[in-house]
Protein backbone atom coordinates (compact mmCIF):
# COMPACT_ATOMS: atom_id res chain seq x y z
CA UNK A 1 0.00 0.00 0.00
CA UNK A 2 2.66 2.48 1.00
CA UNK A 3 4.63 1.70 -2.18
CA UNK A 4 1.65 2.52 -4.31
CA UNK A 5 1.15 5.74 -2.40
CA UNK A 6 4.72 6.84 -2.95
CA UNK A 7 4.56 5.95 -6.60
CA UNK A 8 1.43 7.96 -7.06
CA UNK A 9 2.80 11.01 -5.31
CA UNK A 10 6.06 10.84 -7.25
CA UNK A 11 4.16 10.58 -10.46
CA UNK A 12 2.15 13.61 -9.49
CA UNK A 13 5.26 15.58 -8.79
CA UNK A 14 6.89 14.51 -12.04
CA UNK A 15 4.03 15.42 -14.28
CA UNK A 16 3.13 18.33 -12.08
CA UNK A 17 -0.48 18.16 -13.02
CA UNK A 18 -3.14 15.86 -11.78
CA UNK A 19 -4.92 16.07 -15.11
CA UNK A 20 -1.98 14.53 -16.96
CA UNK A 21 -1.75 11.74 -14.45
CA UNK A 22 -5.35 10.88 -15.13
CA UNK A 23 -4.69 11.01 -18.87
CA UNK A 24 -1.73 8.66 -18.40
CA UNK A 25 -3.86 6.22 -16.58
CA UNK A 26 -6.36 6.19 -19.40
CA UNK A 27 -3.84 5.89 -22.23
CA UNK A 28 -2.42 2.68 -20.88
CA UNK A 29 0.27 1.37 -23.29
CA UNK A 30 0.77 -2.35 -22.76
CA UNK A 31 4.35 -3.56 -23.05
CA UNK A 32 4.46 -6.65 -25.19
CA UNK A 33 7.38 -9.04 -25.68
CA UNK A 34 7.33 -11.34 -28.69
CA UNK A 35 9.49 -14.43 -28.26
CA UNK A 36 9.65 -16.26 -31.56
CA UNK A 37 12.49 -17.59 -33.70
CA UNK A 38 10.73 -16.80 -36.99
CA UNK A 39 11.64 -13.34 -38.19
CA UNK A 40 8.51 -13.17 -40.34
CA UNK A 41 6.27 -13.59 -37.31
CA UNK A 42 8.33 -11.15 -35.23
CA UNK A 43 7.93 -8.47 -37.87
CA UNK A 44 4.26 -9.09 -38.42
CA UNK A 45 3.54 -8.97 -34.70
CA UNK A 46 5.68 -5.88 -34.24
CA UNK A 47 3.86 -3.98 -36.95
CA UNK A 48 0.40 -4.95 -35.90
CA UNK A 49 0.89 -4.50 -32.17
CA UNK A 50 2.51 -1.11 -32.61
CA UNK A 51 -0.55 -0.08 -34.63
CA UNK A 52 -2.68 -1.27 -31.73
CA UNK A 53 -0.85 1.10 -29.40
CA UNK A 54 1.46 -1.40 -27.74
CA UNK A 55 5.11 -0.98 -26.92
CA UNK A 56 6.76 -3.99 -28.55
CA UNK A 57 10.06 -5.74 -27.84
CA UNK A 58 11.42 -8.79 -29.67
CA UNK A 59 13.45 -11.85 -28.69
CA UNK A 60 14.37 -14.68 -31.02
CA UNK A 61 14.96 -17.36 -28.43
CA UNK A 62 13.83 -18.41 -24.95
CA UNK A 63 16.99 -17.53 -23.04
CA UNK A 64 17.07 -14.02 -24.46
CA UNK A 65 13.36 -13.63 -23.75
CA UNK A 66 13.74 -14.64 -20.12
CA UNK A 67 16.68 -12.27 -19.74
CA UNK A 68 14.59 -9.37 -21.05
CA UNK A 69 11.77 -10.28 -18.69
CA UNK A 70 14.18 -10.21 -15.78
CA UNK A 71 15.35 -6.73 -16.79
CA UNK A 72 11.96 -5.16 -17.33
CA UNK A 73 8.31 -5.87 -16.73
CA UNK A 74 6.09 -6.90 -19.60
CA UNK A 75 2.34 -6.94 -19.49
CA UNK A 76 1.94 -9.47 -22.27
CA UNK A 77 4.31 -12.10 -23.70
CA UNK A 78 3.63 -13.75 -27.04
CA UNK A 79 5.52 -16.99 -26.76
CA UNK A 80 6.32 -19.52 -29.47
CA UNK A 81 6.38 -23.03 -28.09
CA UNK A 82 8.68 -24.54 -30.73
CA UNK A 83 12.04 -22.85 -30.65
CA UNK A 84 15.57 -24.08 -30.92
CA UNK A 85 17.37 -24.21 -27.56
CA UNK A 86 15.17 -23.60 -24.55
CA UNK A 87 11.64 -24.91 -25.13
CA UNK A 88 8.67 -22.59 -24.97
CA UNK A 89 7.19 -24.68 -22.18
CA UNK A 90 10.26 -24.03 -20.01
CA UNK A 91 10.17 -20.32 -20.83
CA UNK A 92 6.50 -20.26 -19.81
CA UNK A 93 7.35 -21.80 -16.43
CA UNK A 94 10.24 -19.36 -16.03
CA UNK A 95 8.09 -16.30 -16.73
CA UNK A 96 5.34 -17.45 -14.37
CA UNK A 97 7.89 -17.98 -11.62
CA UNK A 98 9.22 -14.43 -12.00
CA UNK A 99 6.11 -12.47 -12.91
CA UNK A 100 2.96 -14.39 -12.10
CA UNK A 101 0.74 -11.56 -13.33
CA UNK A 102 2.27 -11.39 -16.81
CA UNK A 103 -0.28 -12.46 -19.41
CA UNK A 104 1.19 -15.13 -21.66
CA UNK A 105 -0.22 -15.97 -25.05
CA UNK A 106 1.22 -19.13 -26.52
CA UNK A 107 1.87 -19.43 -30.24
CA UNK A 108 1.74 -22.99 -31.34
CA UNK A 109 2.15 -24.77 -34.62
CA UNK A 110 0.13 -27.76 -33.61
CA UNK A 111 -2.86 -26.73 -31.61
CA UNK A 112 -3.74 -30.05 -30.17
CA UNK A 113 -6.14 -30.14 -27.34
CA UNK A 114 -3.66 -31.92 -25.11
CA UNK A 115 -1.06 -29.27 -25.67
CA UNK A 116 -3.40 -26.39 -25.11
CA UNK A 117 -4.58 -27.82 -21.82
CA UNK A 118 -1.02 -28.26 -20.66
CA UNK A 119 -0.07 -24.66 -21.46
CA UNK A 120 -3.22 -23.37 -19.83
CA UNK A 121 -2.42 -25.42 -16.75
CA UNK A 122 0.99 -23.83 -16.61
CA UNK A 123 -0.64 -20.43 -16.58
CA UNK A 124 -1.01 -19.37 -20.21
CA UNK A 125 -3.84 -16.94 -20.77
CA UNK A 126 -4.69 -18.00 -24.33
CA UNK A 127 -3.11 -19.46 -27.44
CA UNK A 128 -2.81 -18.71 -31.11
CA UNK A 129 -2.32 -21.47 -33.62
CA UNK A 130 -0.08 -20.94 -36.58
CA UNK A 131 -0.78 -19.70 -39.08
CA UNK A 132 -2.89 -16.90 -37.63
CA UNK A 133 -4.44 -13.90 -39.30
CA UNK A 134 -3.85 -10.31 -38.09
CA UNK A 135 -7.48 -10.30 -37.05
CA UNK A 136 -6.96 -13.35 -34.80
CA UNK A 137 -3.93 -11.69 -33.20
CA UNK A 138 -5.92 -8.51 -32.63
CA UNK A 139 -8.74 -10.37 -30.93
CA UNK A 140 -6.41 -12.27 -28.62
CA UNK A 141 -4.40 -9.15 -27.75
CA UNK A 142 -7.42 -7.00 -27.04
CA UNK A 143 -8.83 -9.74 -24.84
CA UNK A 144 -5.53 -9.76 -22.93
CA UNK A 145 -5.52 -5.98 -22.59
CA UNK A 146 -9.08 -6.05 -21.31
CA UNK A 147 -8.03 -8.67 -18.77
CA UNK A 148 -5.05 -6.59 -17.61
CA UNK A 149 -7.20 -3.50 -17.28
CA UNK A 150 -9.73 -5.37 -15.16
CA UNK A 151 -6.96 -6.67 -12.95
CA UNK A 152 -5.60 -3.14 -12.57
CA UNK A 153 -9.06 -1.83 -11.73
CA UNK A 154 -9.51 -4.50 -9.11
CA UNK A 155 -6.06 -3.82 -7.69
CA UNK A 156 -6.61 -0.08 -7.42
CA UNK A 157 -10.09 -0.62 -6.01
CA UNK A 158 -8.60 -2.96 -3.44
CA UNK A 159 -5.93 -0.43 -2.54
CA UNK A 160 -8.51 2.30 -2.24
CA UNK A 161 -10.69 0.13 -0.03
CA UNK A 162 -7.77 -0.86 2.12
CA UNK A 163 -6.65 2.73 2.62
CA UNK A 164 -10.21 3.68 3.44
CA UNK A 165 -10.85 0.87 5.88
CA UNK A 166 -7.48 1.28 7.53
CA UNK A 167 -7.93 5.00 8.12
CA UNK A 168 -11.41 4.59 9.61
CA UNK A 169 -11.75 5.46 13.28
CA UNK A 170 -14.35 2.70 13.50
CA UNK A 171 -13.02 -0.79 13.99
CA UNK A 172 -13.86 -3.19 11.17
CA UNK A 173 -13.63 -6.96 11.34
CA UNK A 174 -14.62 -9.14 8.42
CA UNK A 175 -14.75 -12.91 8.66
CA UNK A 176 -15.64 -15.54 6.10
CA UNK A 177 -18.34 -18.12 6.77
CA UNK A 178 -15.83 -20.35 8.54
CA UNK A 179 -14.95 -17.51 10.88
CA UNK A 180 -11.51 -16.93 9.41
CA UNK A 181 -10.47 -13.30 9.46
CA UNK A 182 -10.51 -11.71 6.02
CA UNK A 183 -9.96 -8.16 7.21
CA UNK A 184 -9.19 -6.54 10.53
CA UNK A 185 -8.29 -2.86 10.50
CA UNK A 186 -5.90 -1.21 12.98
CA UNK A 187 -8.73 0.59 14.81
CA UNK A 188 -10.37 -2.77 15.54
CA UNK A 189 -7.14 -4.43 16.74
CA UNK A 190 -6.52 -1.40 18.91
CA UNK A 191 -10.00 -1.50 20.45
CA UNK A 192 -9.74 -5.13 21.48
CA UNK A 193 -6.16 -4.58 22.60
CA UNK A 194 -4.74 -7.14 20.18
CA UNK A 195 -1.00 -7.10 19.66
CA UNK A 196 -1.08 -9.46 16.69
CA UNK A 197 0.93 -8.27 13.73
CA UNK A 198 -0.89 -10.52 11.32
CA UNK A 199 -4.53 -11.32 11.80
CA UNK A 200 -5.68 -12.11 8.27
CA UNK A 201 -6.23 -15.82 7.80
CA UNK A 202 -6.38 -16.53 11.51
CA UNK A 203 -9.49 -17.95 13.08
CA UNK A 204 -11.53 -15.24 14.80
CA UNK A 205 -11.22 -17.05 18.16
CA UNK A 206 -7.45 -16.53 18.03
CA UNK A 207 -7.85 -12.76 18.06
CA UNK A 208 -11.21 -12.03 19.67
CA UNK A 209 -11.66 -13.21 23.23
CA UNK A 210 -14.87 -11.41 24.13
CA UNK A 211 -17.70 -14.00 24.20
CA UNK A 212 -20.42 -11.56 23.16
CA UNK A 213 -18.58 -10.48 20.01
CA UNK A 214 -18.05 -14.11 19.04
CA UNK A 215 -21.68 -14.80 19.75
CA UNK A 216 -22.77 -11.89 17.53
CA UNK A 217 -20.63 -13.20 14.67
CA UNK A 218 -22.14 -16.66 15.15
CA UNK A 219 -25.61 -15.16 15.05
CA UNK A 220 -24.82 -13.22 11.87
CA UNK A 221 -23.36 -16.32 10.20
CA UNK A 222 -26.34 -18.43 11.23
CA UNK A 223 -28.69 -16.20 9.28
CA UNK A 224 -30.06 -17.78 6.16
CA UNK A 225 -31.13 -16.40 2.84
CA UNK A 226 -34.04 -13.99 3.11
CA UNK A 227 -33.58 -13.44 6.83
CA UNK A 228 -30.60 -11.13 6.98
CA UNK A 229 -30.60 -8.57 9.72
CA UNK A 230 -28.19 -6.47 11.69
CA UNK A 231 -27.25 -7.44 15.23
CA UNK A 232 -26.37 -4.54 17.51
CA UNK A 233 -25.12 -4.26 21.03
CA UNK A 234 -23.09 -2.07 23.33
CA UNK A 235 -20.16 -3.54 25.17
CA UNK A 236 -17.71 -2.33 27.69
CA UNK A 237 -14.19 -3.30 26.70
CA UNK A 238 -11.07 -2.73 28.71
CA UNK A 239 -7.88 -3.33 26.69
CA UNK A 240 -5.23 -5.12 28.77
CA UNK A 241 -2.68 -2.34 28.57
CA UNK A 242 -5.04 0.42 29.67
CA UNK A 243 -7.12 0.87 32.76
CA UNK A 244 -9.67 2.94 30.96
CA UNK A 245 -12.93 1.29 30.15
CA UNK A 246 -14.28 1.85 26.67
CA UNK A 247 -17.89 1.65 25.64
CA UNK A 248 -18.15 0.27 22.15
CA UNK A 249 -21.25 0.21 19.99
CA UNK A 250 -21.12 -2.93 17.85
CA UNK A 251 -23.01 -3.72 14.67
CA UNK A 252 -22.65 -7.09 13.08
CA UNK A 253 -24.24 -8.10 9.79
CA UNK A 254 -23.79 -10.88 7.27
CA UNK A 255 -22.73 -10.18 3.69
CA UNK A 256 -23.94 -12.25 0.85
CA UNK A 257 -23.30 -13.14 -2.76
CA UNK A 258 -25.58 -12.58 -5.71
CA UNK A 259 -27.49 -15.74 -4.89
CA UNK A 260 -28.14 -14.40 -1.39
CA UNK A 261 -25.90 -16.95 0.26
CA UNK A 262 -24.25 -16.02 3.52
CA UNK A 263 -20.56 -15.44 2.80
CA UNK A 264 -19.42 -14.13 6.15
CA UNK A 265 -19.89 -11.37 8.65
CA UNK A 266 -18.81 -7.75 8.86
CA UNK A 267 -18.58 -6.35 12.36
CA UNK A 268 -18.21 -2.62 12.90
CA UNK A 269 -17.02 -1.22 16.24
CA UNK A 270 -17.80 2.35 17.14
CA UNK A 271 -16.20 3.89 20.21
CA UNK A 272 -18.99 5.74 22.03
CA UNK A 273 -17.16 6.25 25.31
CA UNK A 274 -17.03 10.03 24.95
CA UNK A 275 -20.69 10.14 23.99
CA UNK A 276 -21.64 8.06 27.01
CA UNK A 277 -19.60 10.25 29.31
CA UNK A 278 -21.19 13.42 27.98
CA UNK A 279 -24.62 11.86 28.28
CA UNK A 280 -23.92 10.92 31.88
CA UNK A 281 -22.64 14.41 32.56
CA UNK A 282 -25.79 15.85 31.08
CA UNK A 283 -28.02 13.56 33.14
CA UNK A 284 -26.09 14.38 36.32
CA UNK A 285 -26.33 18.07 35.58
CA UNK A 286 -30.03 18.01 34.83
CA UNK A 287 -30.61 15.92 37.90
CA UNK A 288 -28.66 18.28 40.13
CA UNK A 289 -30.31 21.41 38.77
CA UNK A 290 -33.79 19.89 38.89
CA UNK A 291 -33.30 18.76 42.45
CA UNK A 292 -32.02 22.15 43.56
CA UNK A 293 -34.99 23.83 41.94
CA UNK A 294 -37.60 21.40 43.12
CA UNK A 295 -37.09 21.57 46.88
CA UNK A 296 -37.44 25.34 47.24
CA UNK A 297 -40.41 25.35 44.86
CA UNK A 298 -42.14 22.85 47.08
CA UNK A 299 -41.65 24.95 50.17
CA UNK A 300 -42.75 28.10 48.35
CA UNK A 301 -45.93 26.25 47.42
CA UNK A 302 -46.59 25.38 51.03
CA UNK A 303 -45.92 28.88 52.23
CA UNK A 304 -48.37 30.20 49.66
CA UNK A 305 -50.88 27.63 50.81
CA UNK A 306 -50.49 28.84 54.38
CA UNK A 307 -51.16 32.39 53.27
CA UNK A 308 -54.07 31.29 51.07
CA UNK A 309 -55.59 29.49 54.04
CA UNK A 310 -55.62 32.82 55.87
CA UNK A 311 -53.15 31.73 58.52
CA UNK A 312 -51.07 34.88 57.96
CA UNK A 313 -53.97 37.28 58.09
CA UNK A 314 -57.04 37.91 55.99
CA UNK A 315 -56.76 38.18 52.23
CA UNK A 316 -58.81 40.22 49.79
CA UNK A 317 -60.46 38.38 46.93
CA UNK A 318 -58.01 39.94 44.50
CA UNK A 319 -55.00 38.81 46.57
CA UNK A 320 -56.39 35.29 46.77
CA UNK A 321 -56.90 35.19 43.03
CA UNK A 322 -53.34 36.33 42.27
CA UNK A 323 -51.84 33.93 44.80
CA UNK A 324 -53.80 31.03 43.35
CA UNK A 325 -52.55 31.77 39.83
CA UNK A 326 -48.98 32.03 41.09
CA UNK A 327 -49.37 28.76 42.95
CA UNK A 328 -50.58 27.05 39.75
CA UNK A 329 -47.55 28.31 37.84
CA UNK A 330 -45.19 27.12 40.55
CA UNK A 331 -46.95 23.74 40.64
CA UNK A 332 -46.21 23.30 36.92
CA UNK A 333 -42.60 24.30 37.50
CA UNK A 334 -42.24 21.82 40.34
CA UNK A 335 -43.81 19.15 38.15
CA UNK A 336 -41.31 19.91 35.38
CA UNK A 337 -38.45 19.61 37.83
CA UNK A 338 -39.82 16.28 39.07
CA UNK A 339 -40.15 14.88 35.57
CA UNK A 340 -36.65 16.03 34.62
CA UNK A 341 -35.38 14.21 37.68
CA UNK A 342 -37.28 11.07 36.72
CA UNK A 343 -35.98 11.20 33.18
CA UNK A 344 -32.38 11.63 34.23
CA UNK A 345 -32.75 8.79 36.73
CA UNK A 346 -34.12 6.52 34.03
CA UNK A 347 -31.46 7.57 31.57
CA UNK A 348 -28.68 6.80 33.97
CA UNK A 349 -30.33 3.44 34.64
CA UNK A 350 -30.69 4.19 38.31
CA UNK A 351 -34.23 3.30 39.07
CA UNK A 352 -34.98 0.23 37.08
CA UNK A 353 -32.43 -2.05 38.62
CA UNK A 354 -34.63 -3.89 41.06
CA UNK A 355 -37.08 -6.05 39.16
CA UNK A 356 -39.80 -8.19 40.59
CA UNK A 357 -42.84 -10.08 39.40
CA UNK A 358 -45.68 -7.60 39.11
CA UNK A 359 -49.35 -8.50 39.14
CA UNK A 360 -50.54 -6.13 36.43
CA UNK A 361 -54.22 -6.46 37.27
CA UNK A 362 -53.54 -5.31 40.81
CA UNK A 363 -51.17 -2.57 39.68
CA UNK A 364 -53.74 -1.17 37.28
CA UNK A 365 -56.40 -1.39 39.99
CA UNK A 366 -54.23 0.68 42.36
CA UNK A 367 -53.52 3.30 39.71
CA UNK A 368 -57.16 3.57 38.70
CA UNK A 369 -57.93 4.03 42.39
CA UNK A 370 -55.36 6.81 42.69
CA UNK A 371 -56.89 8.70 39.80
CA UNK A 372 -60.52 8.08 40.70
CA UNK A 373 -61.03 11.50 42.34
CA UNK A 374 -59.39 13.35 39.52
CA UNK A 375 -61.51 11.54 36.94
CA UNK A 376 -64.70 12.08 38.94
CA UNK A 377 -63.79 15.76 39.19
CA UNK A 378 -64.00 15.98 35.38
CA UNK A 379 -67.02 13.66 35.17
CA UNK A 380 -64.96 11.05 33.35
CA UNK A 381 -65.69 7.34 33.55
CA UNK A 382 -62.39 5.73 34.48
CA UNK A 383 -62.83 1.99 34.25
CA UNK A 384 -60.55 -1.01 34.60
CA UNK A 385 -61.87 -3.53 32.10
CA UNK A 386 -61.59 -7.14 33.26
CA UNK A 387 -58.68 -9.00 31.73
CA UNK A 388 -57.34 -12.54 31.97
CA UNK A 389 -56.27 -13.69 35.44
CA UNK A 390 -52.65 -13.73 36.51
CA UNK A 391 -51.18 -11.29 34.01
CA UNK A 392 -47.71 -10.62 35.32
CA UNK A 393 -44.43 -9.21 34.09
CA UNK A 394 -40.95 -9.04 35.57
CA UNK A 395 -40.25 -5.36 35.89
CA UNK A 396 -39.47 -2.50 38.19
CA UNK A 397 -42.56 -1.60 40.21
CA UNK A 398 -41.96 2.15 40.41
CA UNK A 399 -41.26 2.29 36.67
CA UNK A 400 -44.36 0.43 35.56
CA UNK A 401 -46.54 2.35 37.99
CA UNK A 402 -45.12 5.51 36.50
CA UNK A 403 -45.93 4.30 32.98
CA UNK A 404 -49.54 3.49 33.80
CA UNK A 405 -49.90 6.61 35.89
CA UNK A 406 -48.58 8.84 33.11
CA UNK A 407 -50.92 7.32 30.55
CA UNK A 408 -53.98 7.61 32.78
CA UNK A 409 -53.09 11.14 33.80
CA UNK A 410 -52.67 12.11 30.12
CA UNK A 411 -55.98 10.49 29.25
CA UNK A 412 -57.70 12.49 31.99
CA UNK A 413 -56.15 15.75 30.86
CA UNK A 414 -56.86 15.25 27.17
CA UNK A 415 -60.40 13.91 27.47
CA UNK A 416 -63.23 16.44 27.74
CA UNK A 417 -65.88 16.04 30.45
CA UNK A 418 -68.29 13.11 30.26
CA UNK A 419 -65.79 11.04 28.32
CA UNK A 420 -64.57 7.55 29.12
CA UNK A 421 -61.19 6.03 29.88
CA UNK A 422 -60.63 2.27 29.77
CA UNK A 423 -57.57 0.60 31.20
CA UNK A 424 -56.90 -3.12 30.84
CA UNK A 425 -54.30 -5.73 30.09
CA UNK A 426 -54.25 -8.79 27.86
CA UNK A 427 -51.74 -11.04 26.18
CA UNK A 428 -50.52 -12.22 22.80
CA UNK A 429 -48.03 -15.01 22.05
CA UNK A 430 -44.91 -13.37 23.39
CA UNK A 431 -46.21 -10.20 24.99
CA UNK A 432 -48.22 -8.88 27.88
CA UNK A 433 -50.05 -5.74 26.79
CA UNK A 434 -51.28 -2.79 28.82
CA UNK A 435 -53.96 -0.66 27.18
CA UNK A 436 -55.14 2.82 28.01
CA UNK A 437 -57.89 4.03 25.70
CA UNK A 438 -59.82 7.28 25.96
CA UNK A 439 -62.57 9.10 24.10
CA UNK A 440 -60.60 12.33 24.13
CA UNK A 441 -59.18 14.88 21.73
CA UNK A 442 -57.02 12.36 19.87
CA UNK A 443 -53.65 13.11 18.35
CA UNK A 444 -53.39 14.70 14.90
CA UNK A 445 -51.46 12.46 12.51
CA UNK A 446 -48.61 14.93 12.00
CA UNK A 447 -47.98 15.02 15.76
CA UNK A 448 -48.20 11.29 16.33
CA UNK A 449 -44.61 10.46 15.49
CA UNK A 450 -43.31 13.20 17.78
CA UNK A 451 -45.31 12.65 20.94
CA UNK A 452 -42.60 10.48 22.46
CA UNK A 453 -39.94 13.17 21.89
CA UNK A 454 -38.81 15.11 24.92
CA UNK A 455 -40.57 18.43 25.44
CA UNK A 456 -42.88 17.83 22.49
CA UNK A 457 -46.43 18.92 23.08
CA UNK A 458 -49.35 18.92 20.68
CA UNK A 459 -50.24 22.57 20.29
CA UNK A 460 -53.60 23.63 18.96
CA UNK A 461 -56.77 25.44 20.02
CA UNK A 462 -57.96 22.47 22.06
CA UNK A 463 -54.76 21.87 24.03
CA UNK A 464 -53.96 25.49 24.78
CA UNK A 465 -55.19 25.40 28.33
CA UNK A 466 -53.87 21.98 29.23
CA UNK A 467 -50.76 22.05 31.37
CA UNK A 468 -47.87 19.70 30.76
CA UNK A 469 -44.14 19.49 30.47
CA UNK A 470 -43.86 17.35 27.37
CA UNK A 471 -41.76 14.86 29.28
CA UNK A 472 -44.37 12.34 30.39
CA UNK A 473 -44.43 10.21 27.25
CA UNK A 474 -40.66 10.48 26.82
CA UNK A 475 -40.34 8.99 30.29
CA UNK A 476 -42.88 6.29 29.46
CA UNK A 477 -41.00 5.36 26.31
CA UNK A 478 -37.62 5.24 28.08
CA UNK A 479 -39.03 2.98 30.76
CA UNK A 480 -40.77 0.66 28.31
CA UNK A 481 -37.65 0.35 26.20
CA UNK A 482 -35.45 -0.31 29.19
CA UNK A 483 -37.79 -3.24 29.88
CA UNK A 484 -37.34 -4.48 26.28
CA UNK A 485 -40.90 -3.52 25.45
CA UNK A 486 -42.58 -1.35 22.85
CA UNK A 487 -45.24 1.34 22.91
CA UNK A 488 -47.54 2.44 20.16
CA UNK A 489 -50.59 4.56 19.73
CA UNK A 490 -53.67 4.55 17.57
CA UNK A 491 -55.62 7.74 17.46
CA UNK A 492 -58.41 9.53 15.66
CA UNK A 493 -58.81 13.27 16.21
CA UNK A 494 -61.90 14.00 18.33
CA UNK A 495 -62.60 10.30 18.84
CA UNK A 496 -59.80 9.35 21.18
CA UNK A 497 -56.41 7.72 21.60
CA UNK A 498 -55.47 4.15 22.42
CA UNK A 499 -51.98 3.56 23.85
CA UNK A 500 -50.67 0.01 23.94
CA UNK A 501 -47.61 -1.07 25.84
CA UNK A 502 -46.14 -4.48 25.08
CA UNK A 503 -43.83 -6.01 27.66
CA UNK A 504 -42.10 -9.35 27.18
CA UNK A 505 -43.73 -12.29 28.94
CA UNK A 506 -41.78 -13.42 31.99
CA UNK A 507 -40.63 -16.64 30.29
CA UNK A 508 -39.06 -14.62 27.49
CA UNK A 509 -37.04 -12.46 29.81
CA UNK A 510 -33.52 -13.52 30.52
Amino acid sequence: MSDTDTETSEKKQNTNAALETVADAFSFRPRVLVVDDEERIQKACHRLLTQEGCEVALADNGIKGLKMIEDAHFDIVLLDLMMPGMSGMDVLTGIKARHPDTVIIVITGYATLEHSIETMKKGAFDFLSKPFSPQELRVVISKAIEFIRTLQDIASEKTRMRVMVNTLKEGVLTTDHQKNIVLANPAFLNMIGSKSQRSIGLHVNDIVKHPRILEMIDQALAQTSGHFSEITDELSLTPEDSKEEKIIGIRCFPFRDRLDRNLGAVTVFHDITALKKMDQLKSDFVSMVAHEIKSPLNSILMQMKVILDGLAGDLTEKQTDILKRSADKITSLAQLASELLDLSKIESGLINQERETLDLGQLIKDQVQFFRDKADGKSLKLIQKPGPEGMSVIANRTNIEEVVSNLISNAIRYTPSNGKIDVWCDQTDDWINIHVADTGLGIPEEDRKHIFDRFYRVKNEQTRFINGTGLGLAIVKSIVESHHGTIHVESKPNQGSHFTICLPKPEHEI
Binding site: P296, M302, Q303, K305, A334, L341, F370, R397, E401
Partner: protein, 128 residues
Amino acid sequence: MSEQKLILVVDDDPDLVEAVSMKLEAKNYRVAKAYDGVEAMDRIKEEKPALVVLDVMMPRKNGWDVCEEIKNDAGLKDIAVVLLTAVADSVKTTSYTHHDGKTTLADDYIPKPIDLDELMEIVSDHCS
Protein backbone atom coordinates in the same frame (compact mmCIF):
# COMPACT_ATOMS: atom_id res chain seq x y z
CA MET B 1 -61.61 19.00 75.01
CA SER B 2 -58.64 16.89 75.95
CA GLU B 3 -55.10 18.15 76.13
CA GLN B 4 -53.73 19.38 72.83
CA LYS B 5 -51.67 16.74 71.08
CA LEU B 6 -47.98 17.40 70.40
CA ILE B 7 -46.79 16.94 66.83
CA LEU B 8 -43.10 16.89 65.90
CA VAL B 9 -42.29 18.23 62.42
CA VAL B 10 -38.93 17.12 61.00
CA ASP B 11 -37.44 18.36 57.74
CA ASP B 12 -34.12 19.92 56.79
CA ASP B 13 -35.96 22.74 55.03
CA PRO B 14 -36.95 25.32 57.73
CA ASP B 15 -39.50 26.94 55.40
CA LEU B 16 -41.31 23.65 55.03
CA VAL B 17 -41.22 23.07 58.78
CA GLU B 18 -42.60 26.56 59.34
CA ALA B 19 -45.46 26.18 56.86
CA VAL B 20 -46.51 22.78 58.22
CA SER B 21 -46.27 24.11 61.78
CA MET B 22 -48.48 27.11 61.08
CA LYS B 23 -51.08 24.87 59.53
CA LEU B 24 -50.94 22.46 62.49
CA GLU B 25 -51.15 25.26 65.02
CA ALA B 26 -54.16 26.61 63.22
CA LYS B 27 -55.72 23.19 63.81
CA ASN B 28 -54.96 23.54 67.52
CA TYR B 29 -52.05 21.13 67.77
CA ARG B 30 -48.94 21.89 69.77
CA VAL B 31 -45.87 21.74 67.53
CA ALA B 32 -42.22 20.85 68.10
CA LYS B 33 -39.60 21.21 65.36
CA ALA B 34 -36.41 19.40 64.34
CA TYR B 35 -34.16 19.86 61.33
CA ASP B 36 -32.32 16.56 60.96
CA GLY B 37 -32.60 12.93 62.06
CA VAL B 38 -30.37 13.13 65.10
CA GLU B 39 -32.12 16.20 66.46
CA ALA B 40 -35.43 14.45 65.78
CA MET B 41 -34.48 11.46 67.96
CA ASP B 42 -33.51 13.81 70.80
CA ARG B 43 -36.83 15.67 70.62
CA ILE B 44 -38.79 12.42 70.42
CA LYS B 45 -37.15 11.02 73.56
CA GLU B 46 -37.55 14.29 75.45
CA GLU B 47 -41.03 15.28 74.49
CA LYS B 48 -42.78 12.01 73.48
CA PRO B 49 -44.95 13.54 70.75
CA ALA B 50 -48.15 11.85 69.65
CA LEU B 51 -47.11 11.95 66.03
CA VAL B 52 -43.99 12.70 63.95
CA VAL B 53 -44.14 14.20 60.48
CA LEU B 54 -40.84 12.87 59.22
CA ASP B 55 -38.87 13.77 56.09
CA VAL B 56 -36.89 10.95 54.50
CA MET B 57 -33.89 12.65 52.92
CA MET B 58 -32.09 14.45 55.74
CA PRO B 59 -28.54 15.08 56.89
CA ARG B 60 -26.95 13.09 59.75
CA LYS B 61 -29.68 10.44 59.95
CA ASN B 62 -32.34 9.71 57.35
CA GLY B 63 -36.04 9.28 57.96
CA TRP B 64 -36.08 5.50 57.30
CA ASP B 65 -33.61 5.01 60.14
CA VAL B 66 -35.39 7.37 62.53
CA CYS B 67 -38.64 5.54 61.83
CA GLU B 68 -37.03 2.18 62.50
CA GLU B 69 -35.57 3.39 65.79
CA ILE B 70 -38.93 4.65 66.97
CA LYS B 71 -40.77 1.48 66.03
CA ASN B 72 -38.16 -0.82 67.56
CA ASP B 73 -38.18 1.01 70.90
CA ALA B 74 -40.86 -0.33 73.25
CA GLY B 75 -41.17 3.07 74.91
CA LEU B 76 -41.66 4.94 71.64
CA LYS B 77 -43.37 2.55 69.29
CA ASP B 78 -46.84 3.97 69.92
CA ILE B 79 -45.80 7.29 68.40
CA ALA B 80 -47.39 7.57 64.94
CA VAL B 81 -44.97 8.23 62.09
CA VAL B 82 -45.98 9.95 58.85
CA LEU B 83 -43.19 9.85 56.27
CA LEU B 84 -42.69 12.70 53.81
CA THR B 85 -41.28 10.97 50.80
CA ALA B 86 -40.00 12.13 47.48
CA VAL B 87 -39.13 8.64 46.24
CA ALA B 88 -41.81 8.50 43.62
CA ASP B 89 -41.58 12.06 42.60
CA SER B 90 -43.79 13.02 39.75
CA VAL B 91 -46.48 10.42 40.21
CA LYS B 92 -48.27 8.68 42.98
CA THR B 93 -47.08 5.13 43.35
CA THR B 94 -47.27 2.48 46.00
CA SER B 95 -43.53 2.04 46.15
CA TYR B 96 -42.98 4.68 48.78
CA THR B 97 -44.14 2.16 51.33
CA HIS B 98 -41.04 0.10 50.58
CA HIS B 99 -37.43 0.73 51.39
CA ASP B 100 -34.53 -1.61 50.69
CA GLY B 101 -37.04 -4.23 49.62
CA LYS B 102 -38.96 -4.31 52.91
CA THR B 103 -42.12 -2.56 53.94
CA THR B 104 -41.32 0.30 56.27
CA LEU B 105 -42.90 0.49 59.68
CA ALA B 106 -44.32 3.97 59.23
CA ASP B 107 -48.00 4.43 59.94
CA ASP B 108 -48.64 6.59 56.91
CA TYR B 109 -47.01 8.35 53.99
CA ILE B 110 -47.47 11.53 52.07
CA PRO B 111 -45.53 12.36 48.91
CA LYS B 112 -43.81 15.65 48.30
CA PRO B 113 -44.92 18.20 47.25
CA ILE B 114 -47.13 18.02 50.29
CA ASP B 115 -50.81 18.71 49.99
CA LEU B 116 -51.30 20.44 53.37
CA ASP B 117 -55.02 19.62 53.58
CA GLU B 118 -54.28 15.96 52.94
CA LEU B 119 -51.58 16.04 55.61
CA MET B 120 -54.03 17.53 58.11
CA GLU B 121 -56.46 14.68 57.42
CA ILE B 122 -53.76 12.09 57.94
CA VAL B 123 -52.64 13.74 61.19
CA SER B 124 -56.15 13.90 62.56
CA ASP B 125 -56.77 10.24 61.59
CA HIS B 126 -53.79 9.12 63.65
CA CYS B 127 -54.36 11.45 66.60
CA SER B 128 -57.95 10.68 67.36
